[in-house]
Every structure is written in structure tokens, then in C-alpha cells.
């Protein structure tokens, strides 16, 4: 209240004066409500009404002055009384009310305010009263300044100013009338409103008595007089005060606010951009550290008993295989800058892993791992054609050490966890005992792994088909995006392909792969059909067929193969998903839940008796999706290859083979 009143006194814009005085009056109202007494609430409500009437009138006056004199700068105004008598009258009434001069309504509420302030006891009995009087004093000062500096004194630049038409002065005049009337007969005008609002505010019935004259004993009278006197004095001394005000540095609320928010936003920006610099390795490092730290902590804070399961004896051949695997993995680690070598080493690790699976009674895994390995490595090899052949050495020694330590720690954690699990017996019987027992009688297959995949947990496989299908779709969509991007095409054109060998497509390899093609397809069919009873199945079959096509691409070149293998990949994938879905839905019509399997035995010459289950139709869905995904990736890479520089330098003569 005081702060704003002080600022209002020294503002030069008419509207700014009024705005700051409004802030001051709001402060006053808040102060009254804060006193919490019924009388104070009445005063607050009265002041809201009074303030609304005189302040609205004043704002309109300011608008009229601006309209007529073409400025709201109080320093350039003055002496408008003569030119605008009507406006002056309105301004006189309203501003005197704001100053709290009787008998206007501003006086009533100010009087009540001072009365309440005089009774308030905060810190010392006098403090509130003094502050309130000071507020009133400042209010008188700026009100009078508004009036005097605008309308009194000698006229300045605005010679053409005159009273506006009734359209402009009617509204403020009405308000000015209200100011007078409500000041003279407050109980008849504002009384009911004040009572209702104050009652609602405090929650108790209030009947305020508002009057102009409270008698000489009322402290408010003397405080009012002091305020009026002081206000007049302020106006008289205004130039001197103004000089002091201008000379003292003072904080502007807006500046303070902006600076505080700016600092907060600046700090936030620094925190945010420092923390989230978009670095992948930072995110992964944090993630790994948390996983390791929390996992270890959770483990150590719970009881642990080492397992008692007997271990397998150490054997020579597997140990040798292990040694090769470990060396290949370590070599990948140290030679990963040479990408081709790293890829080949990775392939070796994968192949040895599949040998390990075979040795540890998991023929299905071995078969799958080896075929996935071949396809993955081949696809990555093809992709590597487009990428730089070397990774630059750009990590600092500190970084190497840091990453190395984290890697070793994580590896130790994973290895020890695996060891702890392998050397203990499970506490409960496993659900797989049921799978084993029901594999033949329930699911109609002797290969328990396969019956789990296509039957017991066929729904997982359904999800897996979808994953493959989506992967293929993404690659398809990605291809169109890349092939329609000028940047990408431009970059492709600058890549030189197939410059490594003198003869890019050796005749023997070309002939060999083409001869192998039908054979591979046969093998694929065979693996597919036997899957339910022996290691195999749709996924491996799909991969084997894919490998056959992959070899065609590698041996005969993208262009040749692309021309002869026009798959509609979308349809292949769609078929896969549909076949799998309809196999599942078919069960509904038999009154069974989704994916319930039936089976029967059929003969397909020249193979043995084959057991054809609806589950193997489901497997066909897997087959289509795998084939679709791989072929699509291949076709995509070959499309890309057609945009590289070397595309016309290919062995066009050999394509007739």
C-alpha cells in the first residue's frame, strides 16, 4: 500500500499514477481484510465500492485528457481548468474522494480504515496507525497532484483542448454523482451491499454503521486531518521531493521481477542443457551405473545362500571352443575400430555360441543362432558397404578407463549372477515339467521346445511375428524416406561401391549359388516341416531360404538379383500376419480360445508321415514374416546401391548368365 502510493506520487503518466494508486488501494483492502474483524471487513467492502466509483471516473478523466490534450504526461499538462471546466469538475470530485475529503465516499471508507488501523495492535499499538496514516497522507498527495498539476496552474502546450461531447463525459459524470450521493447518504446506497458482502466474507451477520461524523473523540478524525495536512504539504513541496526521489536509486518492481524470473530461467536453462546434452553414451553410462549399483545393493541387503547343485565336469573340447570364443570377443573389443574385422570376429563369437548351445542340449537354439548369425552378419556386411570402414579413435584415455571399469564391473555382475543361478536348484517345481509331460499327448509334438513355441506359449510367438512384420514395415517406410531425400541421395552418389575385388562376381561363386538355390529351398521346406518333432521350424526355415537369396545378391550383384526376385514384401508380411492371426481365430469357431491348436497326421511324399498341426500353419506365418523382413532389407540395400557411383560399372555382360 505504502510502496505503491509512493510510486504513484512520482509517476508522470496519468494512467500510471492511477494504476499505482489502484495497487495501493488494493493493498489497503487486503490490509483491512487481513485485520480479520467484522468492522474491518465492512470497511474493506465499502472501500471496494467507493474505490470502484471514483477510480473508474478518474480513469475516464485521464482518457478524456489524453483524447483532448494528446498527452498523458502530467509534466506537460496544466491549467486545463479553464479549457475543460466540466472535466475539471468531475476530476475534482473524484480525486477529492480518493484523497478522502468529506463528504465524499472516499472519506467514509478512509475514515473507517483509519479507525480500524487505530485499533489494530501489531508489534506496537502505534505502528499500524502510523503506517495507515502515512498511506492516507500519500494518497492525499498523489490525488491532489493529479488534480492540481493537470487542471490548475498555467496552461501549457494544449491550447486547443476543450470539453468533449456528452458521449465522453456522461459516464464519469454519473460516477461523480454517485461519489457525492453515496458520501452523503451511505446507508441508503452502499449499506445493503456492504452488509451482504462483509457477511459473506467473515461468515457472520454484519450490520455496519457508516456515517460521516463520528465525533471529535474518534482518532480517525485526527488521523484524517493529519493526512490531509501532510498531503497538502507534500504537494507544496513537490518539486523538492521530486528532486530527492529522482536522485535516489530505487528498485522498480518490474525490473526486480524480470530479473528474478530471468535468473531462474537462466539457471534452469544451464541445468537443463548441461544435464541433457543429448549424448547417448551419457544416458547409457548413467543407466548402466544405476542398474549395477542398485542391483548390487539390493542383492547385498538380502540374505544369500550359495547353491549346492553339482557342476558339470570340465571337458577338453568345449574348453578349447571357449578359449576361441573368449579370444574372439576380446579381439573384437580391442580391434573394433576396424569395422570389417570386428564384424567377422562378432560372427565367430556367434558361431561358437551356437556350437555351445548344441553341446549343452539345445539343438534348436544352435540351429536358430547359427542361421540368425549368418543372416545378421551378411546384412551388416552389406550395410557396411555404405558406412565408413573405420571408427575414428576419439575417446580420451580417461574415458576409456571409465568405460572399461564400468564394463568390467557389469560383466562381473552378470557372470556372478549367472553362476549363482546355475549352481542352485529351483525352490519350486518348474512349469516346464508340465510342458514336457504334455508335449506329445497335449500338443502333438515330440520337440518340447517347439511345442512350447507354437502351442503352449504360441501367443509369445504371435507377438514375435508381429515384431518381425513391424521391423519390415519400418524398413519399407524408411526406404521411401531415404530415397526421396536429396541429401541422402547426394551422399549415396558420392559412395563408391565394390571396388575391393578385381572381379566383383567370381564365376564359380555365381554358378554355385544359383545351383544351390533350389537345394536351399528344399532344405527350408524340410526344416519347416520337421520342426514340430525335431529341431527346426518356421523361423529357421525362413532364414535358410533368406540365406539362399542373400547369397544370390552377394554373388551376382544387387541388380541381377533384384530384377529376378520381385517380391511384394508388403504382401509377404501381410500374409504372414494374416495367416498367424487367422490360425488363432479359427479356434474361436470351434468354441476354443485364441490360438488353441488341433493336429492331424498327413503324408507328404517323399517325406515320412508328417504331423500337421494348426500350429504348423501358425509357423507358416513366422516363415513369411522372416522371409519378408530379410528380403525387404536386402531389396532396400540393393536399391541404395543403385544410387551409388558404381552402379553402371557393374558386370553388365555377366548378367546374361
Amino acid at each position: 500500500m505504502l510502496m505503491a502510493a509512493k510510486i504513484a506520487l512520482f509517476k508522470d503518466d496519468l494512467k500510471a499514477i492511477l494504476a499505482f494508486s489502484t495497487v495501493s488501494h488494493l493493498g489497503l483492502i487486503t490490509f483491512l481484510l487481513g485485520l480479520g474483524t467484522p468492522a474491518a471487513a465492512s470497511a474493506a467492502m465499502l472501500h471496494i465500492l467507493a474505490h470502484a466509483s471514483f477510480k473508474a471516473a478518474l480513469f475516464m478523466v485521464a482518457g478524456i485528457v489524453d483524447h483532448e490534450a494528446h498527452t498523458r504526461d502530467i509534466r506537460r499538462l496544466g491549467g486545463l481548468r479553464a479549457a475543460m471546466p466540466l472535466t475539471f469538475t468531475i476530476a475534482l470530485i473524484a480525486s477529492l474522494s480518493m484523497a478522502g475529503v468529506p463528504p465524499l465516499n472516499g472519506f467514509l471508507s478512509k475514515e473507517l480504515m483509519l479507525e480500524n488501523a487505530a485499533q489494530a495492535d501489531w508489534l506496537t499499538p502505534w505502528l499500524v496507525a502510523i503506517l495507515a496514516t502515512a498511506g492516507a497522507l500519500l494518497s492525499v498527495a498523489y490525488s491532489l497532484r493529479f488534480l492540481a498539476h493537470t487542471f490548475l496552474g498555467t496552461p501549457r502546450e494544449q491550447h486547443d483542448a476543450h470539453d468533449p461531447g456528452p458521449g465522453l463525459w456522461a459516464a464519469p459524470a454519473l460516477l461523480a454523482g454517485l461519489v457525492i450521493v453515496s458520501g452523503l447518504v451511505p446507508m441508503a446506497t452502499f449499506g445493503p451491499f456492504v452488509d451482504a458482502a462483509a457477511s459473506a466474507t467473515t461468515g457472520t451477520e454484519i450490520h455496519a454503521h457508516i456515517a460521516l461524523w463520528h465525533g471529535l473523540k474518534a482518532p480517525a478524525l485526527w488521523m484524517s486531518l493529519a493526512a490531509l495536512g501532510g498531503g497538502l504539504a507534500c504537494l507544496g513541496l513537490y518539486p523538492r521531493l521530486r528532486a530527492i526521489w529522482d536522485a535516489t536509486p530505487r528498485p522498480e518492481a518490474k525490473t526486480i521481477f524480470d530479473a528474478a524470473i530471468g535468473a531462474l530461467a537462466g539457471t534452469s536453462r544451464v541445468v537443463t542443457s548441461t544435464l541433457h546434452n543429448g549424448s547417448l553414451s551419457r544416458g547409457i553410462f548413467a543407466t548402466m551405473l544405476v542398474i549395477l549399483g542398485l542391483g548390487l545393493w539390493a542383492f547385498l541387503s538380502g540374505p544369500y545362500q550359495p547353491g549346492t547343485r553339482a557342476m558339470l565336469p570340465v571337458e577338453g573340447a568345449p574348453l578349447a571352443g571357449w578359449a576361441v570364443l573368449a579370444s574372439a570377443a576380446l579381439a573384437t573389443l580391442f580391434r573394433h575400430h576396424d569395422r570389417l574385422l570386428a564384424l567377422v570376429l562378432t560372427g565367430i563369437v556367434g558361431l561358437l555360441l551356437s556350437a555351445g548351445f548344441a553341446w549343452l542340449s539345445a539343438p534348436d537354439l544352435a540351429l536358430t543362432q547359427i542361421s540368425v548369425e549368418v543372416v545378421t552378419i551378411l546384412l551388416m556386411l552389406l550395410a557396411l558397404n555404405f558406412l565408413p570402414q573405420h571408427s575414428p579413435r576419439e575417446s580420451s584415455p580417461f574415458r576409456h578407463a571409465r568405460d572399461g571399469m564400468l564394463a568390467v564391473a557389469t560383466g562381473l555382475g552378470a557372470g556372478l549372477l549367472a553362476f549363482a543361478l546355475m549352481t542352485r536348484e529351483p525352490a519350486f517345481s518348474r512349469v516346464s515339467e508340465f510342458h514336457w509331460a504334455q508335449s506329445k499327448p497335449g500338443a502333438g509334438g515330440t520337440n518340447a521346445v517347439n511345442t512350447i513355441i507354437v502351442d503352449f506359449r504360441g501367443y509369445d510367438t504371435y507377438g514375435e511375428i508381429i515384431v518381425l512384420g513391424i521391423a519390415a514395415l519400418i524398413i519399407f517406410a524408411w526406404r521411401s524416406a531415404v530415397l526421396s531425400s536429396k541429401t541422402a541421395l547426394h551422399r549415396l552418389a558420392s559412395i563408391r561401391m565394390a571396388k575391393n575385388a578385381g572381379d566383383p562376381h567370381p564365376l564359380m561363386l555365381v554358378m554355385g549359388t544359383r545351383f544351390l538355390m533350389p537345394l536351399a529351398l528344399m532344405v527350408g521346406v524340410f526344416i519347416f516341416l520337421r520342426g514340430h518333432n525335431l529341431p527346426g521350424g518356421g523361423f529357421v526355415a525362413g532364414l535358410v531360404v533368406s540365406i539362399a537369396f542373400l547369397l544370390q545378391y552377394m554373388a551376382s550383384g544387387y541388380i541381377w538379383s533384384e530384377r529376378r526376385l520381385r517380391f511384394d514384401h508388403q504382401l509377404l508380411i501381410g500374409t504372414g500376419v494374416l495367416v498367424a492371426t487367422f490360425t488363432g481365430i479359427a479356434a474361436w469357431f470351434m468354441g476354443w480360445p485364441f490360438l488353441t491348436s488341433g493336429y492331424d497326421y498327413v503324408h507328404i511324399w517323399p517325406l515320412d508321415e508328417i504331423e500337421l498341426t494348426t500350429a504348423s500353419v501358425f509357423d507358416l506365418g513366422v516363415f513369411f514374416c522372416v522371409l519378408g523382413a530379410v528380403m525387404l532389407s536386402l531389396a532396400t540395400l540393393s536399391r541404395l546401391a543403385q544410387h551409388t557411383t558404381d552402379r553402371d560399372a557393374g558386370p553388365s555382360g555377366k548378367e546374361s548368365l
Binding site: 541433457h276 547417448l280 543407466t287 543361478l421 501367443y459 514395415l473 519400418i474 524416406a481 541422402a488
Partner: protein
């Protein structure tokens, strides 16, 4: 009993997506028709399932007719039905927006990917099997990779590589956790796990605790809990606007899974894990909320701001969740519903502003936000900051009232976070509203204002219906904290 209806939220989108590859391949109209039909049907099915779930105990659907725990089962309960409904509602509106803004034409196969995305989400919400949850996480993730890089070039594809790499790391961790759990208990069915863990031999406790923490960390990665959140800002800011809006429900999958496992498998009164998860989640949630709010204030562009708002909302969700009481779970669910709609709305508005050049909050040549878009931004900001009269306000109130942590810690962070968010959003608003030199943004066609307006209507409905919604969620939360009927519905052998 709902019978085969329970599986339709998974099968229907898959079927339509495959069909879209056949008949919608050359015609965007057919593809649109398929996905809109699918989304409408999913919404209807979700409503039906929600009503069915409200009436009785959880219902179990045996896939392949194999009994639990040997086969995989779907479980429809109030929580999964609620998540289905949220997903279907958001997806339908955002899909409408994708069509209205033409986002679906900026790359290939948008609609098929969209349907597969819904399939993955629905599958994750319905499954009652831990490994199957992994599979459907992968389905929804790989579909989200496709949508994330949809029509993208340069920075978006690179952000996509990061997103995929982090999530593959999460998937690997998921497998480590599941293998450990299976190795110790011999089962993967969630109800079976809930029945077996209380009698786990003490010598296995340490390993199981490690597995529980690893599993929860997987969900924390999906839910972007600090410090596993590094993938979120770049991904959400770079993703197409409509996709980011759908992603508002993607982070909720992490929260859903944490809630499901935290109440069913690892409840706080379980001897093995005890309050382990709750103790870790509370500080992480608070830090996430704080960092997200700071990010809102510190963001330089509107997409980043929206991304950090998503982070802050996840912080609030996990803060509420960490108490694991019926009251806090009610608050969590209410806030989740609110922030799904509000997040979707904010991303849609962001996308509209970005399409009109209003992406950056500083720098030259910024156009001025105005008209309908301005109103939408203002309302989205109110919803995001949690101000009355929209549902963020009752949501935050419920969170505060039910928070378990020391009040001196939770209240300042939640309220301070709201304060920072408010300043950040107002700064962004004024940067866009009052851009001094800029021309007004291109006007917003009515067609593109429909989806945001409907999302707003959802928020209003959530506010006006706060009472009944709260009651319904209260019953849901009570059911979660008393999982016996859920386990019973699985009909495990030996009556376990």
C-alpha cells in the same frame, strides 16, 4: 464373462494392420478408413470391457486353452480396462489429428504402424504373464520406433537411433530379470509368482531382490524416471507431433507395469523385497519432477518444453505411486488419466504451433501466436501446470494428500515444480503471444482444432466428474492392493 472379447483389443488392430497392407497399400483413404474404424471399434470394446471389469472380479482368458501358469493368460481387471480405455480414447483423437494435419501422409505405412502400436499397448495392459509382457513391450516399442522416425530426416533419425539403442538396453535388462525370476521360481505367470514369492527360501532372497530391482528399473526406463530418462527429451522433441501426443500413453506403460508388479508381485508387505521398491521410487520420482519442471522453464523450444512437461508429469506419477497405499494408488491413477490427456493436448498444440513456425521461444523472426491456437495453448498450459479449473489441480491435490514421504520433502517439490512449470509455460506463452516483430501465425483451420478441443473436453469431464471418477478409481486401487481375487481368477493348480 467377456470370453473372446478380451483378446480383441490385440487381434483386431493386428488384423486391420495386415489388411491395410493389402487393400490400403496404394490408397491413403482406405488406410485411413481402416485405422479410424479400428480405433472407433477399440474405443467401443474398451468401454464394454471397462463395464464388464467394473462389475465383477478379474476375468482370465487362456490362450491356446492351456491353464495358468503353463500357458499364457490374459487378465482383464479394472486397471487393465482403464488403461485400454485411456489408450483407445487418446489414440482415436490423436489419429483424427494426424489425418487433419496430414501427418499420416508424410511417410509410408503410418496407419499400419499406428494399429500395431495400439496392438502392442493393449497386449501389454492385458497380459498376465511376465515374459509375454516383455514380448508386447517389444511390439509396442518397435512400432514406436517406426512412428518416431515417421517421415523423418537427419536429426529425427539420429534421435531414433538413440531411442532404439536405449530401449534395446532396457529389453536386455528385462530378459536378465525375467531369467533370474524364472530360474528361482520356475514360473512366469504373474499370479503364480505372487503366490510363490512369499514362500521363497530365504537363501534366494538376495538374488530375487536383485531381480526385482532390475525389473523395476526396466519399467523406470520406459517411464523415464531420473536418471534413466536421458532418452526422453530428444525423442519426444524430435518425434512427429502427433506421435509424441500418442507417446503420452507410452510412458504410462512403465508406470502401469510398475504399479502392477508393485502391488501384485512385489507388494510392500512381501518379506523378500519389503519397502525396497517404494524407497527407491520416491526420491527418483521427486528428482524427476524437479528436473522436468526445471526443464520446462529452461527449454528453448516448444517441443522441448512439452517433452520436459512429460518428464515432470511422470515424476508426479511415480512420486504418487511410491506410497503404494490405496489412497496413493487412487491419486496415481487419476493423475495418470489427467496427464495422458493433458500431455496429448500439449503435444498437439505444440505441433500446431511448430507447423506455423512457432517452435522457438527466443531468437528472431518468431511469428505471433493468436486466435484459436492461442486459446488452446493457454488451456493446455493451465492443464499442464495443474492450475484450476482443469483436472491437473484436483490431481495434484490428491497426490499431495496421499503422499507417503516426509511432507517437508514432497510438498515443496510438487508445489515448487508446479510453480516452475507455471513460470516456464507463461514465459513460453508470452514469448509466442507477444513476439514483437513477428507476423501473426497462419490461422488454425477448424478441422485441426477438433481433436485438441475434444481432449480438453476430456479434461473438463475428468474435473467435473472428479467425484464419481475418484470413487471408481478408489475401488480399482483397493482391488490392486488386495490381489487375492486376481490370483484366484488365474485358477492355479493346487489352489495356490
Amino acid at each position: 464373462m467377456m470370453g473372446n472379447w478380451i483378446i480383441t483389443p490385440v487381434v483386431l488392430p493386428a488384423l486391420l494392420a495386415a489388411l491395410s497392407l493389402f487393400i490400403g497399400r496404394n490408397s491413403i483413404t482406405v488406410a485411413r478408413l481402416l485405422s479410424v474404424t479400428g480405433s472407433l471399434a477399440l474405443l467401443a470394446i474398451a468401454l464394454m470391457l471397462l463395464m464388464a471389469a467394473s462389475e465383477g472380479p478379474p476375468q482370465v482368458y487362456r490362450l491356446g486353452d492351456w491353464p495358468a501358469p503353463f500357458g499364457i493368460v490374459l487378465v482383464l481387471d479394472r486397471l487393465s480396462a482403464l488403461m485400454l480405455l485411456l489408450t483407445a480414447g487418446l489414440a482415436l483423437l490423436v489419429l483424427g489429428q494426424a489425418i487433419a494435419t496430414g501427418w499420416d501422409r508424410r511417410g509410408r505405412k503410418f496407419h499400419a504402424l499406428w494399429l500395431f502400436q495400439l496392438m502392442g499397448l493393449n497386449g501389454a495392459f492385458l497380459t498376465g504373464d511376465a515374459f509375454n509382457l516383455f514380448v508386447f513391450f517389444e511390439v509396442l516399442l518397435i512400432a514406436s520406433y517406426g512412428l518416431m522416425v515417421h517421415g523423418g530426416t537427419g536429426p529425427r533419425i539420429r534421435a531414433g537411433v538413440q531411442y532404439i539403442a536405449v530401449n534395446l538396453l532396457g529389453s536386455t535388462l528385462f530378459l536378465f530379470a525375467l531369467a533370474t525370476i524364472y530360474s528361482l521360481t520356475g514360473t512366469l505367470n504373474m499370479a503364480d509368482l505372487a503366490a510363490k514369492l512369499p514362500v521363497l527360501p530365504e537363501g534366494d532372497h538376495g538374488l530375487m531382490r536383485a531381480a526385482a530391482v532390475m525389473l523395476m528399473l526396466v519399467f523406470a526406463i520406459k517411464g523415464a524416471l531420473v536418471p534413466l530418462h536421458f532418452w526422453l527429451p530428444g525423442t519426444y522433441a524430435q518425434a512427429p507431433g502427433v506421435v509424441a501426443a500418442l507417446f503420452a500413453v507410452m510412458t504410462k506403460v512403465g508406470a502401469y507395469a510398475a504399479l502392477r508388479f508393485g502391488t501384485l508381485v512385489f507388494p510392500t508387505d512381501l518379506a523378500v523385497t519389503g519397502p525396497l521398491i517404494a524407497d527407491l521410487m520416491l526420491p527418483a520420482g521427486l528428482i524427476t519432477l524437479a528436473l522436468g519442471s526445471i526443464g520446462i522453464l529452461g527449454a528453448r523450444s516448444l517441443p522441448r518444453l512439452a517433452a520436459y512437461a512429460a518428464l515432470a508429469s511422470m515424476g508426479t506419477v511415480f512420486t504418487a505411486l511410491s506410497a503404494f497405499t490405496p489412497a496413493s494408488t487412487t491419486a496415481t491413477l487419476y493423475y495418470m488419466a489427467h496427464s495422458t490427456l493433458a500431455g496429448g493436448l500439449l503435444f498437439l498444440v505444440t505441433d500446431l504451433a511448430r507447423a506455423r513456425g512457432g517452435e522457438f521461444l527466443d531468437g528472431p523472426d518468431r511469428p505471433r501466436l493468436s486466435g484459436r491456437l492461442g486459446v488452446l495453448f493457454f488451456l493446455a498450459a493451465i492443464a499442464t501446470a495443474g492450475l484450476p479449473p482443469l483436472s491437473g489441480f484436483p490431481g495434484k491435490l490428491m497426490v499431495l494428500q496421499s503422499a507417503s514421504g516426509p511432507m517437508a520433502l514432497v510438498w515443496p517439490v510438487v508445489l515448487g515444480g508446479g510453480f516452475l512449470a507455471l513460470i516456464g509455460l507463461s514465459r513460453a506463452g508470452s514469448a509466442l503471444f507477444w513476439a514483437p516483430q513477428g507476423e501473426a501465425m497462419a490461422p488454425l483451420p477448424l478441422s485441426q482444432a477438433i481433436a485438441p478441443a475434444l481432449l480438453l473436453a476430456g479434461l473438463v469431464a475428468l474435473t467435473l466428474g472428479a467425484g464419481p471418477v475418484q470413487d471408481w478409481l478408489g475401488t480399482t486401487a483397493a482391488a490392486l492392493h488386495n490381489p487375492a481375487p486376481y490370483i484366484l481368477a488365474n485358477d492355479l493348480p493346487g489352489g495356490a
